[in-house]
Symmetry: C2
Subunit: 609 residues, 2 copies
């Protein structure tokens, strides 16, 4: 599949007939609710249970089969067929069968994922859960083991999942994929074919399934900012867990900024000593190691951003020597976009020496296959306050006009990139930078599209997007008018609401199609290969560990389906599945926000405008 075309989706069985492995279900089960469901015209409809209905369906079971893509999220992009039977599953009897002889890192990671699945299933239904049911053998195709477990932009994440009954009554789930990453996505899909049925207090699984699936875009990210407010490790792990549930693959860690420096640099531990909010608000090397290991289980790369030359400040106090400019300078509105201001001084050799050390540390800690160098919101007024910088500019024969400061920025970016490559043992990796003054018409030649990927944070209508495509840049979409998830709350300086209000509802988030943006700007669909993907973006000025879950989820699930499936249809066709996916996340401890009264989930098609 890869970035190829979106396959046709078919659900073979629309009418539902359910077979229970327990013949006298109606006798032993306590149907204390008077309501059950039936699938009609693609909706699960609530009906009064009568003696005529021999096997009443719970909403969860009905949704498994009802509608265009059942209860799957994100929607598969290839062939989809689901039989119309469910069987009771015994969560203790799920076993891995690896067809390759050698135990590889891939199969060991899949085995760990199966343990996570089993634990999740065991807690479903709590004390009420009835024991018993079929066993399940997860059978891995031979090609999975041969792949390495390092995610890159070229990794094939597609998979084929087939569920069928074995001769001995157990079930078989065959997962075929070209990489570990595809295989774990297949397992994720498998987990969505298993539900806890509250009517019978049993865990049930679809008996027959055949699903061919793979992502449309290779880069499907979440940005988390841990500088404006610290985010604790459990919250980061929870975020990555939710990403895995939605088949997202890039945790973009905006780890430092002007506000705080929580990253423990092995070379320069002074940064977090001076720059962390508290001595406890630091990500140690061990923390990062633990986060990376967990992310791999969830199919997620952890990509650090070291934003420069703007967005620096706290933590640099120990360095001195004119390395930073305009830090905490006031009135801040004149020198930056929010307090505190702060930029690096590109005239300082010490700056590059230190950057080299930080890059080396980050390369050691994160082993990134892509690196983010930030590069947004450089403020010329800020640099203009530094006599040291201006003298250096004069010594280069430059003036002090705006275009001269762009030469300064060009100089900075070139030297910073040299330092990165040097720290990376001479190897280039793709470097991401934000849209900025450097991507304006007059400066765009400064950046080389073979070295830089551009992350778009303009609106979806901005002409910068067309300019980037014309200039052959690969791009990542996080246009703020749809995918900035911090928008819409109160202001944090002054009164009123924050700058990018209003709040972006999940419908708007879902309908933000990178492909549609490109075609609306006059490009032919074959330019899609310049779209690497996109990112849900969460700046943390007004969120921290207490509320990150609800800011991100379930709206980021809408981003996830957009990037995995790039559906031609709009949110309204995804609504019931979205509500179900939100419940799935909540059941796994992700405090995803509520989108509607539960009444809407239970009365599909009745909440409309």
């Amino acid at each position: 599949m890869g970035t190829g075309s979106v396959g046709m989706i078919t659900v073979l069985a629309i009418s539902i007939f359910l077979l229970y492995n327990c013949a006298n279900a109606a006798v032993e089960d306590d149907l204390s609710s008077p309501w059950s469901y039936e699938c009609k015209a693609g909706n699960c409809q609530k009906i009064k249970t009568t003696p005529k209905i021999t096997t009443p369906l719970s909403l969860g079971v009905c949704q498994l089969f009802c509608g265009e893509a059942g209860a799957l999220w994100p929607r598969p992009t290839g062939h989809l067929s689901l039989g119309n039977f469910v069987l009771q599953l015994n969560p203790n009897e799920i076993h891995l069968h690896d067809s390759s002889s050698a135990r590889t890192e891939s199969s060991s990671l899949i085995a760990k994922n199966i343990e996570i699945l089993k634990n999740d299933l065991r807690t479903m239904g709590g004390d009420r859960l009835k024991s018993g049911g079929r066993g399940l053998i997860v059978h891995l195709g031979p090609r999975i083991s041969s792949g390495n477990v390092k995610l890159t932009l070229e990794t094939d994440e597609s998979y084929i999942l087939q569920i069928s009954e074995l001769g001995d009554g157990r079930l078989n789930a065959s997962i075929d994929a070209k990489s570990y990453f595809g295989a774990r996505h297949g397992l994720e899909t498998l987990s969505q074919l298993i539900v806890y049925n509250g009517l019978y207090n049993k865990i049930q699984i679809v008996r027959d399934a055949y699903i061919v699936d793979g992502p449309v875009y290779p880069y499907r990210g979440v940005l988390l900012d841990t500088s404006r407010n610290f985010v604790d490790k459990p919250t980061i792990l929870r975020t990555i867990r939710a990403m895995g549930m939605n088949k997202m693959n890039t945790f973009h860690w905006h780890i430092t900024d002007s506000h705080s420096f929580p990253y423990e640099s092995s070379t320069y531990p002074e940064f977090s000593n001076y720059g962390a909010y508290t001595p406890q608000n630091v990500y140690s090397n061990d923390d990062i190691k633990e986060i990376l290991e967990y992310a791999l289980l969830q199919g997620v790369r952890v990509m650090p951003e070291f934003d420069a030359p703007a967005h620096v400040g706290e933590g640099w106090q120990w360095v001195g020597d004119n390395t930073t400019v305009c830090f905490k300078k006031e009135p801040w509105l004149k020198y930056c976009v929010e307090p505190p201001c702060g930029q690096l001084n590109p005239a300082s050799d010490r700056v590059y020496e230190i950057l080299g050390g930080i890059y080396k540390d980050m390369i050691t800690d994160f082993q990134p296959d892509i690196f983010h160098m930030g590069g947004d919101e450089v403020n010329i007024n800020c640099w203009n306050t530094s006599d040291n910088l201006k003298e250096w500019m004069t010594s280069k024969g430059w003036g002090h006009k705006e275009n001269d400061f762009y030469k300064v920025w060009d100089h900075f970016q070139s030297r910073a990139l040299e330092k990165y490559v040097e720290a990376n043992a001479g190897k280039q990796v793709p470097i991401i930078m934000w849209t900025s003054g450097l991507t304006n018409e007059e400066n765009i030649k400064i950046l080389n599209p073979s070295k830089y990927i551009i992350q778009i944070w303009t609106t979806g209508e901005d002409e910068t997007i067309a300019r980037l495509i014309r200039n052959n840049f690969k791009v990542i979409f996080s246009n703020y008018d749809a995918w900035y998830l911090d928008c819409g709350f109160g202001a944090w300086v002054g009164e009123g609401n924050n700058w990018c209000s209003p709040y972006k509802g999940w419908q708007k988030v879902y309908d933000n199609s990178p492909l549609a943006i490109l075609t609306s700007q006059g490009f032919s669909p074959d330019k899609k290969n310049q779209i690497l993907g996109g990112e849900a973006t969460l700046w943390s000025e007004q969120t921290d560990s207490t509320t990150i879950d609800s800011r991100l989820w379930p709206r980021t699930a809408a981003v996830a389906e957009r990037l995995w499936s790039e559906p031609k249809s709009s949110w309204i066709h995804a609504e019931h599945r979205m509500l179900m996916q939100r419940e799935r996340m909540v059941a796994k401890g992700i405090n995803a926000d509520s989108l509607q009264p539960q009444w809407c989930a239970q009365n599909q098609g009745h909440c409309y405008l």
Copy 2:
């Protein structure tokens, strides 16, 4: 104090000198952060710790004394003086001394509150916390024990708190009050004079304090809607806990609506059987008992609302017999404000019979001193669809015009009130109703101001407010343009943002003064006695247990200070204390939202516009 005038606030000691009970603190303590704080011009300012600073202050300790009201929330309304010393407190050595000889319910509740305080203190600082410190005797004045523990609109909630050193080196905290409720508020204030000091890993308490305090308004509420989405018991308890921390006193439980009926009626258990979202999503009599007991500890009354004649639907299916009208009727926009529609049929005798049973059950379960009968958003079109109702109207000699339907409503409200009084053994209690068509100019005579309190949910500029005051109603403010905390999120029917967008930032919430609204509408300040108070209002279409904390808090703390203190000053003078109060709530497990980067708390006065 009661509803009397707001006293003058003075902090005697502005300059801070701190005495530690451990003489060689600087030697034994690990000051791993290079930063500490000093109070200058009412702000705690971050400074680099140097050897010259012999006892560096943590932000928390600095804030205890700095600014107009230290770290207290809500701001005390009477005399406030705080000495400038802190001492280490031993959380295990806090004891209650009750000056009355008999052990009363009041003192037993205070004893339980002290146990909660001790447990909170013990968990502060986690494993790092150093043991040791002074003991504290909490001494209750004699008048507390004589009061009963039933909150009413007349209860005196004021208190005087005095902290001083005893001859034996222990500390004494004297709390004098006229009721248990005043005393527990005093204890709440005491808890705000105790901080965990991260620089020394110790718990510290203000050594000398004298505080005279009491609320401006007697009704300080939070509305929680548990019908649109179910809210689990732990979340309700957490909400009540946070209310106690902010000295709010009324949990307004909008327990049922058209969407679901989670209340277990002892007389008619069919309601929750048919009307709860799931058999588990029910509040049993035991649940309610537990919630009431906990609320009493937190100084909170639990007031149920049974909204009628509109806002009914789910749960009534078992009754039949024309008891409801237009339930689930479509297109819903024609018959109600949101799906599903549904109203009671005032022509049905069975309706009143059933209401009587529900009222009786609620009186038994909640023992309310005030009851809320809802009465909002009656839709004439809905009633107009019922031939049964229209025939009854004809039989009364009425037409079928709008004013005829107001006669129907009048009839309904009179009979419902009769049923309530009958269920309450003939006793009247104050009844609250929402602003509605009944509070329009042409209908306002229908309601008797000696029986009904009106809760305002119009905007703060609406002329209904003046009409209510002129007609001698007592009022509760929850004007939606400031105190509807569900506003500003995505729409849940259709696209865009929800009806009362934008989001109400805490600044707007804080500045919403009932008194200022009255005076702006031309009333003299002595009309303040018609203002009973107000309510933070959280409708739950788009929130449930996962996110209620962050929707409510810390913004409801802003409502709390407005209602307790009715300050003349605006939010900007409350900002630092608000940030601290938010941290206090988070430390106690309330997932209050984040308002600003932590940088703003650590760099007071630098985040401004």
